[in-house]
Symmetry: C2
Subunit: 508 residues, 2 copies
């Protein structure tokens, strides 16, 4: 397992024991330039490929992940401690994602083709949104397969026609190498140009990557600190490019008084399951729950926490340390512990905790409203719906909010309207943690949830981050991009003279 | 005309004579907060208004501009020196714009409604993009009516459901007041909430505006210096918001060898007309023209410049000074004057000039590739199409490129493809300056053309800058936004389970 590697290197460690598992060399800056160079050389061919051809590449990656499932899951578990069952399910989800983005690539509405034929004083104008060039992707460690090196960002960028250069996550360096190889080989075998997928390792390599003049956009999933640091690095570029950072947030959930008391036991148990899923290292974890004062909810959650056996570890040593510090900070900010349960007691094991705080402490800027990554949640009791509305006004932006209420509760529309101004998704009757990959999904939200509140990193609209519109005026057909031609050889949806045409048929 | 005003004030001056015409007081910071407060209070009602209702507000602004046409054109001419004929045509264009954005608001595809019904493990998800809150608009001085205080940005933001707070342009402060009043009164009479349109004056007021926590986006049209300074100011905010700055660029045009010699005289004359339109103070002015060596084009342009009588003035004293400096800088960078003609000789009059430079001087970072605002253009002779391709690789991003060639010229597709990576629009067979307001228009481009290369400030897609998606998961119908309901009361286009539905019918 151990072999001599040139320093500096990224050390792979087991969250379960803290032991070293191996290491991966950092990518020297000359090699970063070479990787970006290959991506740049591939850009025109990747962009110009028929969407059906690119969809074939994406499906090949899905199949390759499935073919290498045992190897991937085993290495992912060794480096993340997330457990093989969970990771096996995540791998299946990752493969589904790649196939979903393949379908989206083929469907073609992301090209946003718009054609205005010449009329009166108006010239013939044809607009299409296409990929601009290589994209840098910084994947996450908490979902190493669905949001990691070859997760949503990589799949959606490639679906949109952009080559991708991945910055490997240091929490799972050997898994990153494996995922990069699986992806690269599958793409090559499917006929994708050399350079369609590249990878670099190391902090300095990541900086060199986002500063490279040929990189056209950056996608990041991770902490607010990491995302904002990356954004600051990109702001130093001579030529600005967009940074799509999806960061951690405290996702607020409201339990309304209209929820029948008989449902609260079940709700408390599902809350604790949601809170501890992935050891709470989930960006849509319900971090703040507003509950009616006088209900049994706080007690029920306390009992559910104590009953839960938690076999979960932090992804990194620094997350484990920040978790302990974070709970102390919550207490210093006025919260008190309702219940804790014992974690596994080895390595970077995490002990779940639920705290409560008086509602008057829940104010903009308070530590109570900053994310604490890990299996911790804050319960806050309220007296009236007006109190809830007031707290919603104090909340920072978040990826998701939840609302439990009777469907005919007359306060629901107003609560939903207020919550909608703070978050990118509102889930009714379920906890916030699940994120389905569909056409209508939006995984984004106002800062600090993301740096670009109009963008999503999950779902069909994820492709739009990586394309740029160009309008062709009075252009001879032979010089028009294929998607905007009148005969529509790619059979993509076109808006013609203001009217949407096509989009419901699929070529067979 | 003169009346005592509290200092500090914005002084109105005539470009034709340089004389003072009056002044407008700067807005104190407390009043800026009050204006934004009214906009914030109006936000929910503006967002929630039926698109047909909002369209009615926009059409009322169009009608009011037409009703006040004489007054507006006269004041615009006094403060801009652009001429009453040009400004009368511009006013008609501005009214057409407001009506166009009203149509777009009604059509509803900008809401991007996407519905996935529950299926298998997938929950019911419904996404809609709606306005988030007040938008700050910094209009331009070069098109005071179509891109000014109540131009594209204001109309498209309001069409998308956002209240607008305008920062008045200091080059035409009294016109700004008039336009603000005309807009405000028309909106109020049409039933729009108080606070739908506000205005502030002065540099400090503009800073206070973009730093106000309730402002959700900034739209700017103007110089690169102004746009980047505004972006820097916004980057200091605690909560980041998008800045959509559309800035000046040098727009490259290629004249291919396949253009028949018989057409060159006409082309030279239309080039000089395009170059001097609005005294060259146009963001889509063709600033760099690549012409085949050995053609007569340079001589023909020189003659056309000398023959042209130019009655045009800079919009501001500083533009006039920068124009003189800019020509000296072009000469210092290796360009030489082909021809100049005499301007009006009064006030801030501008003398048109055409320069030429050796192609080897046209390199990334050279002053030759930076915009010089005013009636100046640079001609560069090339020997081969490979030389042109190489120069395109050196160009900074631009709003538009032009290409003149025989339609069957085999080099056209490759040239168009290369140009498309540098610009937001490519015009074939016409000069770049005209920008039609249509569905397919894209008025944007890679930096430094804009700070957000995916955004346009003209055309139907302009609304998208001002909306943010929210997904509603498992939401009871009564709490769903109207646009995402199954019965579709607004009759907007919806994508249902991946298939686009509607969009071709209009409600009557």
């Amino acid at each position: 397992m151990f072999s001599p590697v040139p320093a500096p290197a990224i050390v792979s460690r087991s969250p379960v024991t803290g032991a070293e598992l191996g290491s991966v060399p950092e990518t020297p800056s000359a090699e970063v330039a070479a990787v970006v160079g290959r991506a740049t050389a591939a850009a025109a061919a990747v962009r110009a490929a028929h969407p059906y051809e690119r969809a074939g590449w994406l499906r090949a990656v899905a199949a390759a992940m499935e073919a290498h499932a045992s190897e991937i899951v085993s290495l992912a578990d060794a480096e993340s401690g997330l457990g093989v069952d969970r990771l096996r399910a995540e791998l299946a989800g990752a493969a589904r994602q790649w196939r979903f983005y393949a379908d989206v690539a083929e469907e073609g509405s992301w090209l946003d083709v718009t054609i205005d034929h010449a009329a009166d004083a108006r010239p013939d104008l044809r607009r299409v949104s296409e990929a601009d060039g290589p994209v840098a992707v910084f994947g996450a460690s908490n979902f190493p397969l669905t949001f990691g090196e070859i997760g949503h960002d990589t799949a959606s960028a490639m679906a949109a026609g952009a080559p991708v250069v991945i910055k490997a996550h240091p929490a799972h360096p050997r898994l990153a190498v494996l995922l990069g190889e699986v992806g690269h080989e599958a793409l090559a075998a499917a006929g994708a140009p050399v350079g369609t997928l590249g990878m670099v390792h190391g902090f300095d390599a990541g900086l060199a990557l986002v500063r490279h003049p040929e990189i056209t956009a950056v996608a990041f999933t991770g902490s607010e600190r990491g995302g904002m640091a990356l954004r600051a690095a990109v702001l130093e570029r001579a030529v600005p490019i967009p940074v799509y950072a999806e960061m951690g947030t405290i996702n607020p959930v409201v339990v309304a008084g209209s929820v029948p008391a008989t449902e609260l036991t079940d709700l408390a148990q599902t809350f604790v399951r949601s809170l501890t899923y992935g050891s709470g290292q989930v960006c849509t974890k319900p971090g703040l729950v507003l509950v009616p004062r006088g209900s049994d909810f706080v007690d029920l959650v306390g009992r559910a926490v104590q009953d839960a056996r938690h076999e979960g570890w932090a992804l990194t040593e620094s997350i484990a340390a920040a978790y302990r510090t974070g709970i102390a900070e919550l207490e210093a900010a006025g919260a008190s512990v309702v219940a804790r349960s014992d974690g596994p007691g080895t390595g970077w094991g995490l002990d779940p905790a639920v705290l409560t705080a008086p509602i008057e402490r829940v104010r903009s800027g308070s530590r109570l409203l900053a994310e604490c990554f890990g299996p911790v949640g804050l319960l806050v009791e309220y007296d009236s719906i007006e109190d809830v509305i007031a707290v919603v006004g104090e909340l920072p932006g978040a990826l998701a909010a939840g609302l439990f209420a009777a469907a005919d509760d007359p306060d629901v529309p107003r609560l939903v309207d207020r919550l909608s101004r703070r978050v990118g998704r509102i889930a009714f009757g379920v906890w916030t943690s699940g994120v389905a990959t569909t056409w209508a999904q939006h995984h984004g939200g106002p800062w600090p949830a993301t740096t670009m509140p109009t963008a999503t990193s999950v779902g069909a609209a994820a492709l739009r981050r990586f394309v740029r519109p160009v309008t062709y005026q009075g252009m001879p057909a032979a010089a028009q991009p294929i998607a905007v031609r009148d005969e529509n050889p790619w059979a993509v949806p076109q808006r013609i003279d203001g009217v949407a045409v096509g989009g419901s048929e699929r070529r067979s």
